[in-house]
């Protein structure tokens, strides 16, 4: 059990930075998920925690100890690999006990603990088999068991579910959470799948192009994205990012969005006051846009053309074209809409997220 801290870490490969100036704190027992698109540096960050890569700059601490120069074998962390990395020449039992045998633990202890873990993971019948004779889910369990037997200070998981099919993935998500509840070991989990991140994490660290974008619990990451990239990455269907302009109506700033002029006040108003004429990007979640009659009072209403209707059973995703812009909306099921129809939609200005058009940073 330990805290993990990454302080000002940069990692360059042949002069190209894969990870840039990342600061990340993982509390003791926390389930931290690093998420981001491919090539964002998340795996490199994890490999620096495991000791496979050395930071070009900055400090990595595990349990308060600086581990920059500590080889993987002395870091006391366990890792689950994307492709499981079970040793093909060893049986499941030998794979599970590999680390304990390396550490020369007494045979009795090894046998007892392997049996206990195998029982917990439901892989006891597989102990005599070789990895080639296992299914993907079984291999994943063996890899998890091997990591658990390590009794590490921290778990590192590198996209452990990405090679499984959808049903098995959902089941393993549940099992991983259950295991973490049972053994609350500090965990750093890397994935590109926002569903895994949202459903499993205590906190999510979202990365892009080597930089940390935001660290927050799942729901806050969704409701309070710190920039347009975070807003766009989290959520499915994606958030609608619509260009808009800040104007002035008398003393009050207004946002000119689609065909609407939306007055802004409060904190955001004071920020936008100084941005007269500047471009901004407005983020509207699909569920924040609702169909409405032509004249709804109070809220902005825009008229558009239905381009695509995707009924999912529990809800319907409707793509609406408003002028040059596309809005994806999440409507209730059986909306009765048809492609080509004209539709009025409204949204609550309180819910819209305003980002700077250039930097993408959240303004309010």
């Amino acid at each position: 059990m330990a805290t993990i801290s990454i302080e000002g870490v940069t990692k360059s490969f042949k002069g190209k930075a894969a990870v840039r100036d990342v600061d990340l704190e993982v509390a003791d027992g926390q389930f931290m998920i690093i998420v981001g698109p491919s090539g964002c540096g998340k795996t490199t960050t994890l490999r620096m925690l495991a000791g496979f890569e050395k930071p070009t700059q900055g400090v990595v601490r595990i349990g308060g100890r600086v581990v920059n120069d500590v080889p993987p074998k002395d870091r006391d962390v366990a890792m689950v690999f994307q492709n499981y990395a079970l040793l093909p020449h060893l049986t499941v039992e030998k794979n599970l006990s590999f680390g304990m045998r390396i550490r020369r633990e007494p045979r009795k202890t090894v046998e007892r603990e392997v049996a206990a873990i195998a029982d917990m993971l439901g892989i006891t019948p597989l102990l005599g088999r070789k990895p080639a004779e296992l299914s993907g889910g079984e291999r994943q369990r063996v890899a998890l068991g091997r990591a658990l037997l390590r009794k590490p200070q921290a778990f590192l998981l590198d996209e452990p579910l990405s090679n499984l099919d959808a049903a098995l993935r959902a089941q393993m998500r549940f099992e991983l959470k259950r295991i973490h509840a049972q053994f609350p070991v500090t965990t750093v989990y890397v994935t590109h799948d926002q569903v895994e991140a949202m459903t499993m994490a205590d906190e999510i660290a979202l990365m892009n192009e080597g930089r940390l974008q935001q660290v927050a619990p799942p729901e806050r990451l969704y409701s309070e994205p710190s920039n347009a990239f975070v807003a766009g990455f989290i959520g499915s269907p994606k958030i609608n990012l619509v260009p808009a302009t800040v104007l002035r109506d008398g003393s009050e700033p207004v946002i000119s969005l689609l065909s609407c002029r939306i007055p802004v006040n409060g904190d955001l108003g004071s920020v936008l006051e100084r941005m007269d004429g500047d471009a901004v990007t407005i983020g509207l979640r699909p569920e924040e846009i609702q169909p409405c009659p032509a004249e709804a009072n109070g809220t902005p209403v825009v008229q558009g053309l239905v381009e695509l209707v995707e009924p999912l059973g529990s809800e319907t995703h409707v793509t609406v074209r408003v002028g040059q812009e596309i809005l994806v909306c999440r409507f209730p099921p059986r909306s009765g809409l048809e492609t080509g129809a004209t539709i009025n939609v409204r949204f609550d200005p309180q819910q819209m997220k305003v980002f700077d058009a250039d930097s993408g940073l959240r303004l309010g």
Partner: protein
């Protein structure tokens, strides 16, 4: 001739071959492709080449069992006289010496090449590219070129007439090829296995011993068998470096059957040849089994 248009047609239809929409299926495709006349010529050429290899072997077997063997084809007979003569002439100790030379050189060459192959495959080595080019170049270098300087070196450090030091040189001649072979095997081992072992607490040598070596075992065995066969048949190096009569290995010992005035005892020579070949034939059988058995990491990773 219709066959000239066929190759293109065959290539075009290759993807459809699985659907077997052509009459006769894939069996007839081969027949179409090689009309009767050409097939006959190919078979005839193959037969001639085959005979060239087979006839000496037939002679060897017939002569070995015929007490009155000559350089011509002997009549089939069944006598162990020649084998007895071969043993009396020292076949037993010569083969034992060959086992010693081949065994020691195999162990030395395999250990050295495995370590070198691992380092060249996995670690940062300055000038790795040029080193690998030199290694490949050395695979093709005739040992004869090196023999005179090696002999002089052996004279200087007083290593002559020692089977152990001779086997070191024999092993060294196999090292370049073995390094090249094993490095390629190690290159195929996914690094994830080693990283998994490392986080489990293995140090460098434990990773090598418990992960890499078991995974490249087929490669190590192939390399060891090739080294063994190479050293087993070595003639010039043991002849030059170890001239003490008791150390004569098999390939040199064959001279026992050729007398000073050019007379050859064909029967015992053939019997000796068979005795000397048996271990190598066994090795070939084992190695071919390992080679065809293949080399895979199935199940360990998926990706």
């Amino acid at each position: 001739m219709t066959s000239t248009s066929l190759p293109g047609q065959v290539a075009g239809q290759d993807e459809n071959a699985a659907t077997a929409d052509r009459p006769g299926g894939s069996g007839s495709r081969l027949a179409d492709w090689r009309p009767g006349g050409r097939k006959l010529i190919v078979s005839a050429v193959m037969a001639v080449i085959g005979m060239a290899f087979l006839l000496p072997l037939v002679w060897l077997i017939l002569a070995a069992f015929n007490p009155h063997a000559t350089s011509g084809m002997s009549a089939p007979a069944f006598s162990f006289t020649n084998f007895r003569a071969a043993f009396q002439a020292g076949a037993g100790s010569a083969i034992a010496n060959s086992f010693y030379l081949a065994g020691v050189s195999t162990i030395v060459a395999t250990v050295v090449s495995t370590l070198a192959g691992y380092v060249l495959s996995r670690h940062y080595v300055p000038l790795k590219g040029p080193i690998l080019v030199i290694v490949i170049f050395l695979t093709g270098l005739p040992v004869t070129l090196l023999l005179i300087p090696i002999y002089q070196m052996f004279v200087k450090i007083n290593w002559l007439n020692s089977p152990f030091y001779t086997s070191l040189v024999l092993g060294a001649t196999s090292v370049p090829f073995a390094i090249w072979l094993l490095k390629n095997f190690i290159d195929q081992v996914p690094r994830d296995f080693e990283e998994a072992a490392a986080v489990e607490g293995s140090g460098q040598f434990q990773i090598l011993w418990r992960v890499v070596i078991p995974l490249i075992m087929p490669g190590i065995l192939v390399s060891a068998i090739l080294t063994f066969i190479n050293s087993w048949g070595a003639f010039l190096i043991p002849l030059v470096l170890d001239s003490s009569p008791g150390d004569t290995p098999g390939a040199v010992g064959i001279y026992e059957f050729i007398t000073a005035n050019g007379q050859v005892q064909f029967g015992p020579l053939a019997a000796y040849g068979i005795l000397f070949s048996v271990p190598v034939i066994i090795m070939y059988i084992i190695s071919s089994r390992w080679l065809s058995g293949g080399f895979s990491f199935a199940g360990g990773i998926k990706g």
